[in-house]
């Protein structure tokens, strides 16, 4: 009888302890999405007015031979990304100009689907587009995060200043946005998530308003 009582009590306790494991968690892909932004506090964005935007989004896929044109993200996604950036920049009061018309900032979007990288990738990825000298980026006064994990995709949007190259001829990245999430689901689902992420990146960066 005594043994039965103890066994019963221990069983109840065990059930209780086990039932406490994971009470909940993400159920949908978009619940894993993160939008990160950072900027250089020494930059006066209100003093700038014009920007240029390429017509493609680079796919970061490994080392390139200098001068080689990198792989591009599918136009289905690239047009959505570029259109959203354009919409947000224009609504913040910026004016788009051609890259050859000395824009105040050049916005460079890129995406990655591989493991263990950082946003410190070499600037020569943009050699085919970027009309200014400088072969690398630097981040004045802040440090973007390391992006790791092979199950993820990340979209980077870098706002660079072509007119103030650093001491080592590197180009300052004055604002960065990173969208990180799972690359799963349908095309339309991913497009919706990209839209939301780009909008969110600008929403949480009100200092970009003119």
């Amino acid at each position: 009888m005594q043994q039965r009582k103890i066994t019963w009590a221990l069983a109840l306790a065990g059930i209780g302890l086990l039932s406490g494991c994971y009470p909940g968690g993400p159920e949908y892909i978009d619940e894993y999405d993160l939008v990160y932004t950072d900027y250089s506090s020494t930059v006066d964005f209100k003093a700038k007015n014009t920007y240029s935007l390429p017509d493609s989004v680079i796919k970061l896929s490994g080392d390139l031979v200098e001068g080689e044109r990198p792989e591009m993200v599918s136009p289905v996604y690239a047009n959505e990304i570029l259109g959203k950036i354009r919409d947000n920049m224009n609504s913040y009061g910026w004016t788009e100009v051609d890259a050859t018309e000395s824009p105040d900032v050049v916005i460079l979007p890129s995406a990655i689907v591989v493991t263990n990288t950082t946003v410190y990738y070499p600037g020569y990825y943009w050699g085919w587009y970027y009309p200014y000298y400088g072969y690398g980026w630097y981040y004045p006064g802040y440090y973007p995060p390391t992006v790791t994990s092979y199950t993820t995709g990340s979209l980077f949007i870098q706002m660079t200043n072509p007119n103030e190259p650093g001491a080592t001829d590197n180009i300052p990245v004055e604002w960065i946005a990173v969208f990180n999430g799972l690359l799963e689901g349908s095309t339309s689902g991913l497009v919706t998530r990209i839209d939301r992420a780009v909008d969110q990146a600008f929403k949480q960066s009100p200092y970009l308003k003119q």
Binding site: A9, L12, G16, L17, G20, D33, V35, Y36
Partner: protein
């Protein structure tokens, strides 16, 4: 580590009840209300908790024993932006906190010989807290040990000579550890107590 400690405690309880006199075991369902630093991390009430305990009556009014309990707190935060310096991060946070106090108790029990016996008590021991924050595809974990004091007030209602209903409220007052504030919470217990004699 947690599982090993739990096994040792349960074995100790099982072993000690075999020969003792005036010994009681209790099993309680526990609702947890976060307080202090824990409340600032997770505001929601926890409905997932259990407490098991053992008491030995030294005389008719003083009881000593041990408690082992666990309480799981969880909250899904809204899709929101967290800003630190110039950096902003937006996403959905999932916050978990498992808390396992292991305490030695002394109780003063009133109403000797009556069916209804209120008591007040105090427990001292250690709290193992395990905190998980899931944010996007990233996970941050912390698992401090903290010193804990557990004042308790409650009542037992004896339905027969060897078994009683048990209701109590106890304040699990945890002290700050090196990297985390005290993971304190109030536990409301409802359960049964039975003699193992």
């Amino acid at each position: 580590m947690k599982a090993k400690l739990l096994s040792i405690c349960l074995l100790a309880l099982a072993g000690s009840t075999a020969t003792a006199q005036d010994d009681f075991m209790m099993v309680n369902y526990q609702v947890g209300f976060p307080m202090g630093e824990l409340q600032s991390y997770i505001e929601k009430t926890s409905w997932r908790g259990i407490n098991i305990g053992y008491r030995h009556l030294i005389d008719g009014e003083i009881a000593v024993g041990v408690d082992l309990s666990t309480q799981v707190f969880y909250e899904q935060k809204d899709y929101d932006t967290y800003t630190r310096g110039t950096a902003s991060l937006t996403g959905t946070q999932y916050r978990y906190s498992w808390n396992t106090p292991m305490t030695a108790h002394i109780d003063y029990v009133l109403g000797e010989g009556k069916d209804l016996r209120p008591f007040i008590g105090m427990g001292l021991g250690a709290l193992y807290s395990y905190r998980v924050t899931d944010f996007g595809l990233y996970r941050i974990t912390q698992d401090p040990w903290q010193f804990i004091m557990v004042p308790e007030v409650g009542v037992t209602y004896y339905m027969s000579a060897g078994s009683a209903l048990f209701v109590s409220a106890k304040y699990n007052a945890a002290f700050d550890s090196k990297d985390m504030g005290g993971q304190s919470y109030i536990g409301l217990n409802v359960g049964v107590l039975f003699s193992t004699n």
